[in-house]
Structures are given as structure tokens and as C-alpha cells.
Symmetry: D2
Subunit: 137 residues, 4 copies
């Protein structure tokens, strides 16, 4: 199962090559994953308020076709590996107009106690795990 | 007359004070104004393809109440002064949940020939001016 | 008296118009002001650790000449008005190569208790005020 | 052989977790690699003026220890694989104060004709290849 999130490229997200700057796709992926979590009933902001964070521990992106200003993009996000204290999200970003794949990649998150210094790994809370398992479908 | 554009605050748009970093409101304003232009029938990207640009020449923002991660914001944009070779957009950004005003401001644009080096001021093209007058309406 | 901070434009800070995106000058101003505070003996990070914040309450920028990728810029920052619970910083950003002024502007900060919810205005701490008065020259 | 570039974390580069937002390391890597190219005698801006671009085709980052506001970071960049029409840069980003590794990763670039539509792969120009071989040395 996968979640689909649409967005439109902002002018300030382009660079002088006339395309989306490569770092910005990480923001698109983040937006898609947190919209999904909110829709599944587990907004990320609430997790943090409970002292639980999901910092990024690894990212990988392959750039296939450049997205441009005003392009509408569809970010497809699915859950890859679901560990005891981590979860990997897998992405395909397509241009809506022609279905062309712009970027594929994944973003792997750890689960941590935000209140510990330094932050300490912890198991995914049960309801988050169940939510992610539903997402994994 | 004014245009209303909604967006949701991204995690990467916050800073360590736990609120939207003050520079990002300029991106929200830019998104609202270009969505409006597209809706009025004059997408900014097409203007640039015709060699006409609208670079920013002045911005001013007053920060009234901090927006936070996951807040839905409504950007209200209206046309202020419409000059021969310039146009000023006026903004109010509100949090949708409680109607609180987060930021007010304006962004003034010049009209230039992009193909001249250095870029040269030029009159707003007629159809853009008419479109903006409809928006001002 | 004024402080001068140099930086070089990053590729990712440009947009498809081939120049620095207008929002990024706020980051340059922020970098210059916090470098100055650190040099004067009052790093902003330490202030926050003591529960004192200086959120931005107003910004204004005039764009005079576009900065480009790889340009070395000099950010001149001075202290404008120094209020009981606020301080205004005044900026001129020049291209080093030819001395051309790219942007002028100011950024006004309030002083707040970060630990209060909602954040509460407070007087500038004495040693910060003295440091700023030295900066004001 | 490797190049070392130092920078200081900006406030606006943090997020509400109190650390550098994960996307920003790509900007640090980009800054280090282009500073290196300029120092080796081949500024990236000049390449683009000659119609040659080096768009990113793959990135990978592992986040090991979070960098924070005001941290001085050292970006170590080396050349990995040098192909006929591509070059891979390998990175280690350390906090200067304690030598702790914050992020490791690599960014792979393709070489393209910017003037072709769509952009067309091309061999690395000879003097760029020689410069990169010196860097690899």
C-alpha cells in the first residue's frame, strides 16, 4: 500500500540550472510522509509532544528527470523495512503532467527519546507500529 | 479583491525556536502570488519564457504570532499599488485553526526584460496589466 | 560602529532567474548578526540556553543589484534603535568585487522569555544591553 | 587526497528538533565541492558559462551525530569514482570542537550539455578531468 501526495514546485525551490535544486526533494518526501502519518491518525507533531522523535538516519536519492517550476508532482510513499526501533520509507516522485519519474529514493528513520541527552534509541510505540503496519498493508 | 491560498507548514521550515523560520514567509507569499497569477490566466513561468521577469525590489514583513509545524495557514494576497513598470502585493497570513494573524507584509515587484544584460525595466505587458487590474478590482 | 561579515553565495541559494533568491538575504543577515554577537562575547546560542530569545518582529529589505552564484558578499551590520525590550539591526550587503550595493534593510528583534507559554516580552538582560551599546559605539 | 572546508551552522538551518535539518547537509557538501573546484582552477560557474553542467544524479547520506546551531563543521571531500561522463564525490562532515563525525555520504554528478534540450550527457572536458585527477591524486 502506498500514499500519494501532490504538491507544486515553488519558484524559490529552483536553482540557476532552471530546475528544482536537488536538496529540496528531501522536503517533498518529508511533507508526504508526515501528511500520511497525520492521515493514518498519528500526526508527527503529537509524537514529539510526547517526547518521541523520528530523526533521519539515512537518505538515498536517484535523480532521473528534473522537475521544474510550477510542475505538479506526485510523491508516492510506501513503507519499506519496519524494524523494532526504525522505519524506512520508500519514494517515487513523478511529474503529474506526463507521469515521468523525477526522483526515487528512501529515507530511513530511527525512533528516539527526545528528552534523553544524548537522545536514546527506543522501540516504536505500539500504536505507531500498528499504524505503520496498516500503512504497510 | 483578494486571493486566498492555503498551505501547511513543513517540518523543515521550522527552526530550533520551534516556530517557522522568519525567512520562509517570503516563500509562502511567493507561492500565493504565483498561484493567483496562474488562476487569473497569466502563469509566471510563461512570462519568463517570453523574456519578461518580475524580480522583487522590496519586501516588508511584520511578525505578529508565530506559526508552527503542521499549522494550516491561509495567505491572503491583494494588489496594492499598480505602477507602470511595477506592482505591489499586500499580504496577511493567518492560522486557519483560530484565525490569528501570523504575519502581514508586502512584496513589491519590478517588471524587467530578462534578455537584456543588465536587465532593463520595462512596462508591464498589456494583458498582465489587465489581469492585475481584474485582480485589483 | 559596524561589523563586517563576508560570505560566498551558494549554488542552492540561487533561483532560476540566475540570481540569489530574495528570501536568502535574511539568512545572510542572520549569520552576520549572530557572528557579531559571538565576537562581542554574547553568542546567541547561550542566550537561548538561558531561556532568552530574540525572535524577529519586523524585516524590511530593498533589492538594488542582484547577487550571483560564487559572488563574495560583505554584510555590514550596525545597531539602529536599542529599546528596552528590543533591538533593531541595520544592514548593507555589498558585492566585494565591485563594491556594488546588493541589498539594504533592517531586522528588528524583540526580547522574550522562551520558557513562558505564550512567550512573554522581557527587558534585554544587562550584559546583552551593554554589549549592544558597545556595538552601537 | 582530500579537500577540507569549514563552515558554521546557521540558525535558519536548524529545525524544531534543535539540530541541523537533514536536507541542509547537501548544501554543505555542495559548498565544499565547489570551493574545491574553484581552488583547483575550475570554478563551477565558469563551466556553466561554457554550457557545461554537472547536475546531481545520486546522493546518499548517513546521519551519525546531529550538528547544532553555531557548531563549526569541517567538510572533508574526496573524489571517488571518476567516469568518462561522471564524477562521484565522497564526504565526511565532522564537528570541529570534538572531531565527532556528523554525516558521511556521497554525491554523484553527471556531465551534460546545458544548451541541449533535453540536456545531453557529454564527456568531462579535458581540463576538468585533469583537474579532478589532480584532486584524486
Amino acid at each position: 500500500m502506498a500514499y500519494h501526495h501532490r504538491l507544486r514546485v515553488r519558484y524559490g525551490e529552483t536553482d540557476q540550472m532552471g530546475v528544482v535544486h536537488h536538496a529540496n526533494y528531501l522536503l517533498y518526501m518529508e511533507e508526504a510522509r508526515t501528511m500520511w502519518m497525520a492521515e493514518l491518525g498519528c500526526p508527527y507533531g503529537e509524537l514529539e509532544q510526547r517526547g518521541i522523535g523520528l530523526p533521519v538516519r539515512r537518505t538515498e536519492m536517484r535523480y532521473r528527470s528534473a522537475a521544474r517550476y510550477e510542475d505538479e508532482l506526485e510523491v508516492e510513499v510506501a513503507i519499506g523495512r519496519l524494524g523494532g526501533a526504525s522505519v524506512d520509507f520508500v519514494y517515487t516522485i513523478r511529474r503529474v503532467a506526463d507521469g515521468e519519474v523525477c526522483v526515487t529514493g528512501h529515507v530511513d528513520l530511527a525512533c528516539v527519546e527526545l528528552t534523553a541527552h544524548p537522545r536514546k534509541p527506543r522501540m516504536l510505540p505500539t500504536e505507531l507500529r500498528e499504524m505503520l503496519e496498516r500503512g504497510q498493508g
